[in-house]
Symmetry: C2
């Protein structure tokens, strides 16, 4: 373990793989592509207007398929979803999650899940970090677009968390 650099810092050479981070939501789904060295290749947010859930979910997965067609990825990562106090908003997020999970499964892309506290700890060294602290730490660690919205930022964070976890496993295994 002595060879490992701190998890919150850059992790070094790329593993040659590409990872997709997703922050699912019906109104806004953030996505981010990072390489094995946890560098952000591209990121964005898919937005849908009001209306029936089906066509909105279809728009999300159609845009996601376009992203994947232009940028093949090896693995995907998402935060685990918990039923918190705001249970009604959980339904919208879970439905978007279901549509995205089936799309990724159909493309043969395995999805790795991380607890929100794990993502925060990897990015900031502190599992209870606020959203503002997360975005600030993120921008200090990796070059990200200057006007990164919360959804794309969350997608970048989980993708980087996954890339670093993968790199850690690789270092431990060698």
């Amino acid at each position: 373990m002595g060879r490992l650099r701190p998890e919150a810092g850059p992790v070094g050479a790329s593993t040659g793989l590409r990872y997709l981070g997703i922050d699912p939501g019906l109104a806004a789904t953030g996505w981010a592509l990072v390489d094995g060295g946890a560098r952000v290749v591209a990121c964005g947010t898919i937005r849908t207007g009001p209306g029936a859930a089906g066509p909105r979910l279809l728009r999300i997965v159609d845009e996601l398929r376009s992203v994947l067609a232009a940028n093949p990825v090896d693995e995907a990562a998402m935060e685990e979803l918990f039923a918190g106090r705001n249970a009604s908003s959980v339904i919208g997020v879970a439905q978007a999650r279901g549509a995205i999970l089936v799309t990724l499964a159909s493309a043969g892309i395995a999805v790795h899940e991380y607890k929100p506290a794990q993502v925060k700890a990897v990015l900031t060294g502190y599992g209870m970090a606020t959203k503002v602290q997360m975005v600030r730490m993120l921008s200090l660690q990796v070059p990200v677009p200057s006007r990164l919205d919360d959804h794309a930022a969350d997608a970048v964070a989980v993708a980087i968390c996954h890339a670093r976890s993968r790199r850690l496993h690789q270092l431990v295994a060698t």
Copy 2:
């Protein structure tokens, strides 16, 4: 409105359309095809074993696509989902729902949603009917397979609710 028969009884001639009722769930998704006269054409339950959500959702939508390929439908119906006390099971149902909604949207099939109390009222005349009362009333009203599980029964119920609502709208409009 005088021409209408009671909602809990048979509604008469077919509209010539076919409807798909769905009771979504990760472990078991019930489905039912009914015609415009609210007669059950076919029904069943798609089951998945333990494992990652993505491949399980993919199995559900693959089987659903096979059902739709063999039996084209005009419209679909589902119960609305509410975040009740059992919030953690809501996530699994909502994820299955999202995967199914995007599959139906992709096939150009509109989904109509009904509150659980509406479905019960249409089937039994009583919005607070128990599951046992629902299944008993269902079997008295339409020929259904003798060993109908809860998931297929719920799918039959929402499909019949939709077929009768459609027929009602048609009678009111003429």
